[in-house]
């Protein structure tokens, strides 16, 4: 059975969209679950944080599995497994069991790296930025759509929501298995399978450029998921009087206003991501290499420069958030936040326009490492923000003490004009690779 790469892109995107919908469906119904089981604020916090517990390690395993077994089998297994547990959770009456089941359903979030591997196996290097951007950006919207539509469609009846999410996941799993093809050519498929041993994984994990991209993704996607959790509380506390002046006096009203600002940032970060991939392709097409120090002669050098620009813009916009917050101007803070969301998308889209090109024989392992470890940022940043004496200063501290060193490390790791993947913590021979 023949297939076209656009069909494979559509299958991967629909699968990822649905996985993201399942991933965040627990959060969408947390008030109803809390009311049913009389949960306190600590239980709610635990339930909310459980969504990303499985991501760091799970994505590493999923990336390896997609190289080893092919993306269609791996993606279908994730969809079917999470779908079945989601159906089971619809009939659960014990909170402890429900909690455990929803942690398992949250494994759906690891599917991101499987789709990245799938798209990388089908699209050529000159169009990879747009293809990966369309996949990841459109799929990411599943989280926002879940928050927006699920409570409106199902009200407080999360049992029905979990049931239907699971049933449709099973249908998409069957579609993925029937129509999905692991790679455009047998040569690509064989190369990915051959590179999927433990030594290949250690080789990727120890490359400076892979570590730099992982940190770049922690600066963008890790920060994006951190801000999703942090921003509603930030606006409620940091701009309490301004929100009262706008007429949002009740607790529910404050939540809606603060939630709106957070959602706008998240929406822009997701929906501008395909544009960021397109910009990476455009840099490549035009041969633009404006930054100093970063390599200019590598086949994908312009993409390295585009990501470097994105990282600088993210750092500057974080400083802008502090300046706007200290000025006490809510409109200015929102304006900076909108721009900040767009810059985040430049980082996420720019990173995964590079990953498949740097490690063409191990796209899944590389995507798993870079897309997995970086999600820990979602846990780290809010702790720093919350630990600052002034609520507006946390952005500046993170920018100066974390992002500036990361950007410098990225410039250093991306400076090699030939084979940056050759440079790492160990010599190639030590990790079983031919010199």
């Amino acid at each position: 059975m023949r297939s076209h790469k656009v069909e494979q892109l559509v299958i991967a995107t629909v699968g990822f969209f649905w996985c993201f919908l399942m991933w965040f469906s627990t959060a969408a119904f947390s008030p109803s679950i809390a009311a049913d089981y009389h949960l306190g604020i600590k239980d709610l916090g635990l339930l909310a944080s459980s969504a990303i517990w499985m991501a760091p390690v799970g994505r590493i395993v999923a990336g390896w599995a997609s190289d080893r077994f092919g993306a269609p089998r791996t993606f279908a297994a994730i969809l079917a497994g999470c779908g079945l547990v989601s159906i089971a959770s619809a009939y659960t009456t014990s909170y402890e069991l429900l909690f455990a089941e929803r942690v398992i359903v949250a494994i759906a979030g690891v599917s991101f790296v499987v789709g990245i591997q799938h798209v990388a196996q089908w699209f050529d290097s000159h169009e990879i930025g747009t293809a990966e951007g369309l996949y990841a950006g459109t799929g990411n919207v599943g989280a926002g759509v879940g928050a927006l539509l699920l409570p409106r469609m199902f009200g407080t009846n999360y049992h029905d929501a979990f049931l239907w999410l699971g049933v449709i996941a099973l249908v998409i799993a069957a579609w993925y298995l029937i129509r999905g093809r692991a790679a455009k050519t047998n040569e690509r498929r064989i190369a990915a399978r051959r590179g999927s041993d433990m030594r290949g994984a250690v080789f990727v994990w120890t490359r400076y450029i892979a570590i730099a991209l992982m940190l770049a993704y922690a600066m963008s996607f890790g920060l994006e998921i951190a801000m999703n959790a942090w921003l509603p509380g930030y606006f409620t506390r940091g701009f309490h009087d301004d929100l009262l002046a706008l007429g949002f006096s009740s607790v529910a009203g404050l939540q809606i206003a603060a939630g709106t600002f957070a959602a706008v940032e998240s929406f822009n970060a997701s929906l501008f991501r395909p544009f960021a991939g397109f910009m990476s392709d455009l840099f490549q097409h035009k041969g633009w290499t404006p930054l100093p120090f970063i390599a200019k002669e590598l086949p994908y050098a312009p993409r390295l420069h585009w990501l470097g620009i994105a990282l600088i813009l993210i750092t500057l916009s974080m400083i802008g958030l502090t300046v706007a917050g200290l000025s006490g101007s809510l409109p200015w803070s929102i304006a900076v936040l909108v721009v900040f969301g767009i810059f985040l998308s430049f980082g996420t889209g720019g990173t995964f326009a590079l990953v498949p090109l740097l490690f063409p024989d191990r796209p899944g392992i590389a995507a798993g490492f870079i897309g997995g470890i970086s999600t820990a940022g979602g846990i780290v940043y809010p702790l720093i923000f919350a630990g600052s004496a002034n609520i507006h200063m946390g952005y500046l501290y993170v920018a100066l003490y974390m992002f500036v060193p990361i950007v410098l490390f990225y410039f250093w790791a991306a400076r090699h004009e030939r084979h940056p993947e050759e440079h790492g913590l160990f010599d190639r021979g030590l990790v079983g690779q031919q010199a």
Partner: protein, 50 residues
């Protein structure tokens, strides 16, 4: 000096992909503008009504 891989002609699907991503950007801008207008006028916001 130009990188080796530049100036590759795009396949027909690419222009539809670019059109779709432009549509996504337009949706992001429209939803942001509408939500912020609602919020700054005390009428409600993105996740629900006031």
């Amino acid at each position: 000096m130009k990188p080796a891989e530049t100036r590759v002609a795009h396949e027909p699907w690419y222009k539809y992909g670019v059109a779709f991503l432009m549509l996504e950007m337009a949706i992001a801008v429209a939803v942001s503008a509408y939500s912020l207008y609602m919020t700054f006028n005390g009428l409600g916001g993105f996740p629900g009504k006031h």
